[in-house]
Amino acid sequence: MVRAVSAAETAATTYAWAIHAEALRVRAGRRMAVDGLDLSMDTGVHGLLGPNGAGKTTLVRSIATVLRPAGGTLTILGEKVNGRIDLRALRRQIGYLPQEFGYYRRFTVREFIEYIAWLKEMPAAETPAAVQRAIERVGLTDRADDRMKTLSGGMVRRAGIAQAIVNDPRILLLDEPTAGLDPDQRLQFRALLRDLGTDTCVVVSTHLVEDVAAACTDVVLIDAGRLVHQGVPADLAAAAGQDSGAGDSAAERGYSAILRRHRETQS
């Protein structure tokens, strides 16, 4: 309906990358989990791959503005996270699904997502429509009014994705979103990812190389807190080459090959 459009909304974008990290260092516990990472990501679906302990979750948490960087710079939508910034305005444009997705078991799916919408300071008038839309986009329409404790693991994960997209964020951070999804649900999820990737910067941290190869426009491989490789998914398969390394598919072999080569150059 007729609404006022602010000047800020139509001001030209002053930043080049939605997410830009330079020599980023972030501590997790006592360890420096992200240690000198240089990374730039913009619109599209970025698959974040790497072995356990590579710093993926720490990186995602620092982009979600939950962790403060210990060194280097992290610039999100043009705002440097270290400095004095309007954290609330920035967070309104971010959607985040943590690896350990905690929820309130006695809430229904709809109630929980409405609560998250309130946490994200969405206007009350828009909330019901946005919640319904998020529920439909993840395919939970039939279970929208069931309590979360009655949902299977895959459905809980989908509810987690729904709460992340309810505010139509510019940056979407999904940490292990396909855990517990059956193959059919994973296909639907990839379709959703492709939709979202047309105008959002989506970062998907995952162990499943196949998910990345299928749905992502860009693959980011990190190890020991540093960037190992960034490129299109086809690079992975290409990197496999003649290597008969670990992996059932070309993408997995490529992943192992790239990782191994990187570690060889490091030692």
Partner: protein, 276 residues
């Protein structure tokens, strides 16, 4: 119907047929008007029926599809208990509040059963740290399942922590008042210390996390004041009326510290061993 400030029928017809015979300004005006004028929407329906067979068939198609979908579509039941209370007291808080009430009831029971009048009132001794059981759950990874999401949200911050703390106090302080009255203690003796400990936990929580801060303060009070008082059967100096001005001063200092470092509750923190 008086058409003087509504859309003319002719304009509605041109709008309905989707053709180019309507000026840009008229188009804008028609749409703005229709947003808020139900009679004109009704008249638009008539115009559509008369002049736009394509739209009519579109509407019929949609209605037919809808009929079958609606019949088998699950519907949201009318609201159960409004969940808005969760904006003040998240689910993790309720068990803690129940625990607090039990502790108070136990303290009261012991007081009423105590034979000697000179024995310090347990309710009085426990009062300053009574809210801390609940306050620990206000901003804690272990006790709020959705804590990571809360902490990453735009609304995270001191305001939200205070809101939730208020929910704790609204339950605990009246309970303390009742228990205290039954045990023969006036609120004037414990209210300021109670608020001081609550504020102190929040301020201290900015450094080491609210759960640890609440636990540490509760432990300190129990070991340093409650136990000696019980063993010596003597009301502690800190709860004498003469100490009240010092408590008030302490609250003021803590409040300032709390506000100065409130960014700690926006969640953007450096990770350390005791703060995940």
């Amino acid at each position: 119907m008086n058409l003087s400030n509504h859309v003319t029928t002719a304009a509605l017809e041109r709008y309905a047929t989707g053709g180019a015979g309507i000026g840009a300004d008229a188009l804008w005006a028609v749409e703005v008007h229709l947003d808020s004028c139900a009679p004109c929407r009704e008249r638009l329906g008539d115009a559509v029926a008369r002049h736009s067979p394509e739209t009519v068939s579109l509407l019929a198609l949609v209605q037919a599809n809808l009929a079958s979908e609606v019949a088998r579509s699950p519907r949201m039941h009318s609201r159960r208990l409004p969940r808005r209370i969760s904006r003040w007291a998240p689910p993790g808080l309720w068990p803690r509040l129940a625990m607090t009430l039990l502790v108070l009831a136990a303290a009261l029971g012991l007081d009423l059963a105590a034979s000697s009048q000179a024995f310090p009132s347990l309710v009085l001794l426990v009062a300053p740290v009574a809210p801390l059981l609940g306050v620990a759950a206000v901003w804690s990874v272990g006790l709020d399942p959705a804590h990571e999401l809360v902490v990453a949200s735009p609304r995270a911050g001191l305001n939200m922590v205070l809101r939730r703390t208020l929910a704790v106090l609204i339950v605990v302080i009246p309970a303390l008042t009742v228990a205290g009255w039954l045990a023969g203690e006036s609120p004037a003796r414990w209210l300021l210390p109670c608020l001081a400990f609550t504020a102190g936990a929040l301020a201290f929580g900015e450094l080491i996390g609210l759960r640890w801060a609440a636990a540490a303060l509760a432990l300190l009070w129990t070991a340093g004041v409650i136990t000696p008082s019980v063993l010596a059967a003597r009301t502690p100096v800190l709860l004498e009326p003469a100490s009240l001005p010092y408590w008030a001063g302490l609250i003021a200092v803590i409040a300032v510290a709390l506000v100065l470092r409130r960014d700690a509750y926006t969640g953007l923190r450096s990770s350390t061993w005791f703060v995940r």
